[in-house]
């Protein structure tokens, strides 16, 4: 088990390293000069050159990369053009507004987490629950309604569903405030009221996919020999489904859920844009538009970190669910 975990961690670190190198190189492939964007007026060639030197943009690329990575682990001194001394998880300073990237993240990361995690709980409960019930009542009215609904929602777009919900609940019925982020600890009720539309929008679309997936998984599992064995032992129907079939059917769903949650944490760009909430996703898009290297690098790395961590969690869950994995 320890070896299993170590292997996964090693793999995770190498993935993150590769992501950091690739995104660093890709930024330099962009056809724009970050420095031009930084001084809108009175820029002469000499000044630009001085800023470039201060930012280290004239250093060889490998040196720049090493300095950047060094900043993350031990901190670095960025010189007077930027904020000066930058403490250990140093992600640099935004080229656009000179805010420390770590500060930006402290602001926008909780927003995205608070959108995605409750939404994930909602979509998993709704999707898996609906899928299981449809599978057990295959061919019933409920099953057919659920298939129809999930097909409809799976084919809709986030911004469409989001816009309709906004129109109904915020602008027509006026029972919800304009979506915003209020920290849970500050006011739990406003926290929920401000984010509920984002959760529901995400949950409707994702649960449609999960309902179809878990229905198919469950139907497949129900035809497995070990389910027949359980029935042959005289196990009550409820336990045949709950204890024997569900446990086997849930495994692939765990995998996909882990990846989906990991990816969603990297930024729910469309949801955040639809509801006008400033989270990680919107921050990333704006940074790309403005050529803000430190922010881009940080968003890419953090998103990759989420996916990698989600993968490790999935692997651990897998080992917990399936004893055959533990040996590997």
């Amino acid at each position: 088990m320890v070896r299993f975990l170590l292997k996964r961690l090693l793999l995770a670190v190498s993935v993150l390293l590769a992501v950091s190198i690739v995104s660093f190189l890709m930024f330099f492939a962009l056809p724009r000069d970050p420095v031009t964007g930084m001084c809108p007026k009175n820029c002469n060639a000499e000044r630009l050159e001085r800023v470039r030197t201060e930012l280290g943009l004239n250093d060889p690329k490998p040196t720049q990369y090493v300095n950047y990575m060094k900043g993350i682990f031990v901190g670095r001194d960025l010189g007077s053009a930027q904020g000066g001394k930058c403490e250990a998880p140093c992600l640099g300073y935004s080229y656009v507004n000179s805010e420390a990237v770590t500060d930006t993240f402290a602001r926008v990361l909780p927003v995205t987490l608070n959108i995605v995690l409750p939404a994930a709980v909602l979509w998993l409960a709704l999707g898996v629950g609906l899928g299981m019930i449809s599978a057990l009542r295959r061919g019933s009215l409920l099953d057919r309604i659920s298939i129809g609904l999930t097909l409809t929602f799976a084919s809709l777009q986030l911004y469409f569903v989001g816009a309709v919900l906004l129109l109904v609940f915020v602008y027509s019925l006026k029972i919800l405030p304009t979506p915003r982020y209020v920290p849970f600890l500050e006011n739990p009720i406003e926290w929920a009221r401000g984010l509920v539309l984002a959760w529901v929008t995400l949950a409707l679309l994702f649960s449609a996919i999960y309902a179809r997936l878990s229905r198919a998984q469950m139907l497949e599992t129900l035809s497995e020999d070990f389910v027949r064995t359980a029935r042959a032992k005289g196990v009550a129907k409820r336990n045949v489904y709950g204890r024997h079939a569900l446990r086997a059917a849930i495994t692939p769903i765990v995998t996909i859920a882990g990846l989906d949650v990991g990816a969603a944490l990297g930024g729910t760009v469309i949801t955040e844009t639809t509801f006008g909430i400033q989270g990680l996703g919107r921050t990333a898009v704006e940074a790309v538009r403005q050529g803000d290297l430190p922010t881009i690098m940080a968003t890419v790395l953090v998103s990759a970190l989420f996916v990698v961590v989600a993968n490790i969690v999935v692997d651990l869950l897998y080992a917990f669910i399936d004893p055959r994995v533990r040996l590997g």
């Binding site: 020999d225 070990f226 027949r228 359980a230 042959a232 005289g234 086997a248 669910i321 004893p323 055959r324």
Partner: protein, 367 residues
């Protein structure tokens, strides 16, 4: 049609169960069992009027190719078919209780307690995520709701030991994938026997195992039968297995019984051309090693569209002996020479004897 008169008149059309000596009658009694599935392609007549009986302490071998209805019969006895798409008629009586038409919950209470089943492939029949011991303990606790975890565990360990698994207490916590094929099947047997059932159905219990292990498993079943005195149905396509462990044989073809009798009679003096075919396609240890194996030509028929008359006639070399009769008339199961030996064939007793002696046994097949 004259030749059919060789069959003694006055014999009952309904197949009679071979006579038993003991007093209270057979533990399992199946009469005119019919199992039909409604599918999109039509109605599948998987079992079409099969009757047999098994006493405690005796073993009935049910033999036939895939699709002959042997597994469907056993699943019907345990009530494991999907009730929505299956129609079952006839009688299934287990220990005096009539099972056809019983509510699912009532059958469930009998399953695993009074009647248990061993499946063909123990790897897929055991749950991959639960330890072997836990699965056996579960089978016990389902029918002993007041038994605690510890009691169920010690019962399961005891059963693992009894089926010949070394270090049963340690093996209890291992998972199916950590067992070898033979050990897995032993564990399946332990699970089936944990509630001391009076009826045990083994559906091809040795097919997925290699040959040396097969013999061990069959010996184990025979030993355990002596100990537990259960009635056993052994479903197989392997007549060798039948000759080793069964007392009686039922040969099925396309959902019907074509031959039924004691093992000695059916294997020594087989009466049905299909049984001849089965025997000729099995290599014999005692016979001529150079003798060719003769496969039965053709394939089992579709159960949605059965051939007219005798379902075996398209594959039977002797279908024309009685003119068109085999093509038109479904043969009844009748007494064939000796009490308790039944056959469903239009050939006259004299013809069957002559053909078997001159054409079939010649090939060096009969044991």
């Amino acid at each position: 049609m004259g030749r059919s008169e060789a069959v003694p008149s006055g014999e009952p059309d309904r197949p009679e169960v071979p006579e038993q000596r003991s007093g209270d009658g057979p533990y399992l009694q199946v009469r005119e069992l019919r199992v039909r599935f409604d599918t999109e392609d039509g109605v599948v007549r998987a079992v079409d009027g099969v009757s047999f009986a098994v006493e405690r302490g005796r073993t009935l071998g049910i033999v036939g190719e895939s699709g002959s209805g042997k597994s469907v019969t056993s699943l019907a006895i345990l009530g494991l078919h999907n009730a929505k798409r299956t129609t079952i008629s006839g009688e299934i009586s287990v220990g005096g209780r009539q099972l056809v038409g019983l509510r699912e919950e009532e059958i469930r209470r009998l399953r695993g307690r009074d009647m248990a089943m061993i499946f063909q492939d123990p790897l897929s029949a055991l749950h991959p995520y639960y330890s072997v011991g836990r699965q056996i303990a579960e089978a016990y606790r389902v029918h002993h709701p007041r038994a605690g975890r510890r009691e169920a565990r010690s019962r399961a360990v005891d059963m693992l030991g009894r089926v010949g698994i070394p270090q049963p207490a340690k093996r209890f916590d291992q998972y199916p994938h950590e067992f070898s094929g033979g050990m897995r099947q032993r564990a399946m047997i332990a699970m089936a026997l944990v509630n001391d059932p009076d009826l045990l159905i083994a559906d091809e219990p040795t097919t997925a195992l290699d040959v040396t292990v097969q013999a061990q498993i069959l010996d184990l079943l025979a030993d355990l039968q002596e100990e537990f005195r259960s009635a056993i149905i052994l479903i197989t396509h392997d007549l060798g297995v039948v000759s080793q462990v069964a007392d009686d044989v039922l040969v099925m073809y396309a959902g019907r019984a074509v031959e039924h009798g004691s093992v000695e009679r059916v294997l020594r003096a087989p009466q049905h051309p299909y049984t001849w075919g089965l025997l000729s396609s099995v290599p014999s240890l005692h016979g001529d090693a150079d003798a060719d194996l003769v496969p039965i030509p053709g394939n089992p028929p579709s159960l949605i569209n059965l051939p007219s008359g005798c379902a075996f006639h398209p594959r039977c070399r002797w279908a024309d002996v009685n003119g068109d009769r085999s093509r038109i008339e479904v043969p009844e199961l009748r007494e064939a020479g000796q009490a308790g030996h039944l056959v469903a064939c239009h050939l006259s007793a004299a013809d069957r004897e002559r053909i078997y002696r001159d054409e079939v046994a010649q090939v060096g097949v009969a044991r």
